[in-house]
Symmetry: none
Subunit: 143 residues, 2 copies
Amino acid sequence: MKQRRLKTGYNTKQKESLLAFLKQHGGAHFTAEEIFIHFARLGEPVGQTTVYRNLEKLVNDGLVIKYDLQGNGGACFQYIGIDDKRNGHYHLVCASCGEIAHLECGFIDKLAEHIRDDHGFDFDGQKTVFYGRCSDCQKPEEL
Amino acid sequence: MKQRRLKTGYNTKQKESLLAFLKQHGGAHFTAEEIFIHFARLGEPVGQTTVYRNLEKLVNDGLVIKYDLQGNGGACFQYIGIDDKRNGHYHLVCASCGEIAHLECGFIDKLAEHIRDDHGFDFDGQKTVFYGRCSDCQKPEEL
DNA sequence: ATAAAATTGAAAATCATTTTCATATTTGAG
DNA sequence: CTCAAATATGAAAATGATTTTCAATTTTAT
């Protein structure tokens, strides 16, 4: 039994709403829940299931990336556009307070090269979450 | 009301069973579920909740690392047996097959400095798991 | 216009993990 | 040893994100 070639699928306003929203906020990431609530607030008819389903399709099509920010419940989604898979920024999370720094960082870009060349792995800067302690949380603890 | 200083905790046979199992299979990774089922099969009284709770402690103690493999439901745990938390040694995990490379890597040491100096975070190289794809998993997929 | 193909969404189901809470165990003090 | 406080356990229930179900609706090609 052979798979039929993938098609773009039918065009629906839900799909268009979702893609428009993601494009409009191309630099930001959202959970499926956040996106669902966004449309609910606006009164736009985009159901929760539909958000999940279409996000999955967009991820498969390479228009959106999906990743987890640990300690933070659900997966996050971010629009990246077809030809720009490497446009990724990195996430530096404070292990104490959860603050997230979004890094566009040449040093980490070089790290990716280093890992490829010296350790033989294709580094995944999207899935990798860098942990540390933010400056506030580095202050001495009170007991 | 002040927090009492953390202690190692009481010694229980469940903890010992768990640690013994993990040490015995130091090179392999398991889900909490797999470990629970293992003990259930043997008739050893180690409850599911206890598995989760003690794994978490071992992770905090630095004896075990926790990470996610894609498409694979739950988190994976692997014994690494490092007593010295400050002994620079990083983990590079293949997001596909789970292979772990243990890196002693000057480049990542420098990354820690860079993150401190340029981003104001005290980098936690122990909690951070670097993800990528190992050379085997980089080969083209079959459909 | 119409029928097949695909999509939607509310509700139910799943699945890993966490919480609850009553009971049991460990440990240190006396 | 004895006892009580601190801690751990585990069954069951709760949680929370995501997926499935399935009947109704929408899209598209004919």
